[in-house]
């Protein structure tokens, strides 16, 4: 079976900075694939490239066999109806209630009656445990609740591909456990292909079928969670074991510390 997402020789620059330098990866259909790496390596940018919100400089990105960068604006919006993306912030519409947020894609993309939409929204909210919060507004929710509502909205149209942008960041252990469970359930029940972008090793490794690790714009390792935990590459090892310094330096590039201190003294 063809891979759901296929990226080949992707390069992408932001200004003078190279974000991706010839990345190739495949996301098999129906699997949970994690894309991991230190902060600032462009993991979220990769999701935006897959979603067509950014265009690569070179290389191909195919989703369901369709070349995303070559689609017209109208075709791109049509393809996105089969994708879902859970943003790190949740990105709920703040001027409407939880119920209306989840109902939004159904009202825009379908001609279902309000009664049916109501039933579908309540089913989705029940699945994330927030049916009781249907009448609340996003400002009244906690961070974990926002992400659960956003997940209910993302799965409202039953997309075949869901991208999760840092789904565990900033959550308490209980909320994190709930989100881990929900991602697993959505994948199993709907047969959805899931891409998780994260740097939370434990949670991600517990649900991912396959992991890619990206650093400095390149793919530095890939394999099953077990393979990654015992990976030989020093870069992968540093990331997986959470070591503060190593091939991925602790310090941002700068001139010698002593030189800089003396320079300051000389100029004052």
């Amino acid at each position: 079976m063809e891979d759901h997402v296929c990226i080949q020789n992707l390069t992408y620059n932001r200004g003078a900075r190279r974000i991706f330098d010839g990345i190739t990866l495949r996301i098999p259909r129906g699997k949970i694939v994690a894309i991991m790496g230190p902060s600032g390596t462009g993991k979220t940018t990769l999701l935006r490239l897959i979603g067509g919100q950014l265009r690569p400089d070179t290389g191909t990105i195919r989703v369901n066999g369709k070349s995303i960068p070559d689609l017209s604006r109208a075709d791109l919006f049509a393809v996105r109806r089969e994708m879902g993306m859970l943003f790190q912030s949740g990105a709920l519409f703040t001027d409407i209630s939880v119920f209306d947020n989840v109902a939004f894609p159904l009202r825009v993309h379908t001609d279902l009656s309000e009664e049916l939409i109501r039933d579908l929204v309540l089913i989705k909210l029940q699945a994330v445990g927030l049916r009781g919060a249907a009448g609340l507004f996003p400002a009244e929710l906690s961070g974990g609740m926002v992400r659960r509502v956003a997940l209910a909205r993302t799965v409202a149209l039953d997309p075949s591909l869901i991208m999760y942008d840092e789904p565990f960041a900033g959550l308490d252990p209980i909320a994190m456990g709930v989100i881990v469970q929900l991602i697993k359930t959505v994948n199993r029940v709907y047969g959805t292909t899931s891409i998780i972008v994260s740097h939370d090793i434990t949670e991600t490794a517990s649900i991912a079928d396959y992991i890619y690790v990206i650093s400095d714009g390149r793919l530095i390792g890939s394999g099953t969670p077990q393979e990654m935990l015992s990976h030989e590459s020093p870069r992968v090892k540093q990331f997986v074991k959470g070591l503060p310094d190593g091939p991925v330096p602790f310090h941002y590039p700068a001139i010698d510390f002593a030189d800089e201190l003396l320079q300051d003294r000389g100029s004052s």
Binding site: R48, G51, Q53, R73, F77, A78, R80, R81, M83, G84, M85, F87, S89, A91, L92, F93, T94, F104, P105, V108, H109, A150, R153, L157
Partner: protein, 258 residues
């Protein structure tokens, strides 16, 4: 010298880039007009941009009409021409002050709100999430505001002028004692619908287009930070105000055959 030319070049490139982006947003949004089933989006924006601006328009219109009556009477009475007060106030309001001042107020009240709202939606990834839900923000967010903006501006300008004339009549006729018949008949005889009122309406339509265009573009193009939104909101008010005043000069030049 080289650095001067480099800075000039950078400025021109940035200017062309901004005008190009603004043109693209305008073009794409205007042709993605909301479908009939989403007419409610435009109606909601008419309420947000128009109805919520009525109080400031009415209060300002009344005050300016009243002041025009006071100042106009002061000058006209010296020549015994106070009966022309109604005509003078009406012409000034309908052709100039009504469209211009209501557009400036509209830029400050509604334009800044539109920029801040769209800018904040960008900063909180609401526009991105809308895109990923397969909904085009240009059609869903920008287009209803553009269309509502065109519709409400001439109505607000007319309202401003009507309330201004009413304010002038209260001051001129009821307080300063200008003959009521002379006040209204001079206005009736001297103000022509096509030569004066219509030209004022055309001005307000042009001002409405330019103000709401600047407002939605500044919001859509804002840096997604608190400083970025603050700067975009300021730019909306400043650029809109300057554009309205400069355009008023050229429209007057063209429409009144100078």
């Amino acid at each position: 010298m080289v650095s001067y030319f480099r800075q000039l070049g950078q400025f021109l490139i940035e200017l062309i880039s901004v005008v190009g982006r603004a043109g693209a947003v305008w073009w794409q949004a205007i042709w993605r007009k909301p479908e009939l089933k989403n007419a409610g989006l435009v109606v909601r924006q008419i309420y947000q941009l128009g109805v919520l601006s009525v109080v400031i328009i009415v209060l300002s219109g009344f005050s300016i009409g009243a002041v025009l009556a006071l100042q106009g009477y002061n000058q006209l009475v010296k020549y015994g021409s106070e009966s022309a007060l109604g005509l003078g106030v009406a012409l000034v309001l309908v052709m100039e002050i009504g469209p211009v001042v209501s557009a400036l107020l509209y830029a400050g009240r509604a334009g800044s709100a539109v920029t801040a709202e769209i800018g904040l939606m960008r900063a909180t990834e609401q526009l991105s999430s809308m895109e990923m839900l397969g909904v085009d923000p240009l059609q869903r967010i920008v287009s209803p505001r553009l269309w509502a903006g065109f519709i409400v501006m001439p109505i607000l300008a007319l309202m401003f002028s009507i309330v201004g004339i009413w304010g002038a009549s209260l001051i001129g006729v009821n307080w300063l004692g200008v003959h009521e018949g002379a006040f209204w008949s001079s206005m009736q005889e001297g103000v022509d619908f096509y030569s004066h009122v219509m030209k004022g309406i055309i001005k307000s339509v042009v001002f409405g287009i330019i103000v709401i265009w600047i407002a939605v573009f500044q919001g859509y193009d804002a840096q997604p930070t608190s400083e970025g939104i603050a700067a975009a909101t300021t730019r909306t008010v400043v650029y809109s105000s300057v554009a309205v005043l400069v355009l008023d000069f050229f429209l007057t030049l063209v429409m009144f055959n100078f």
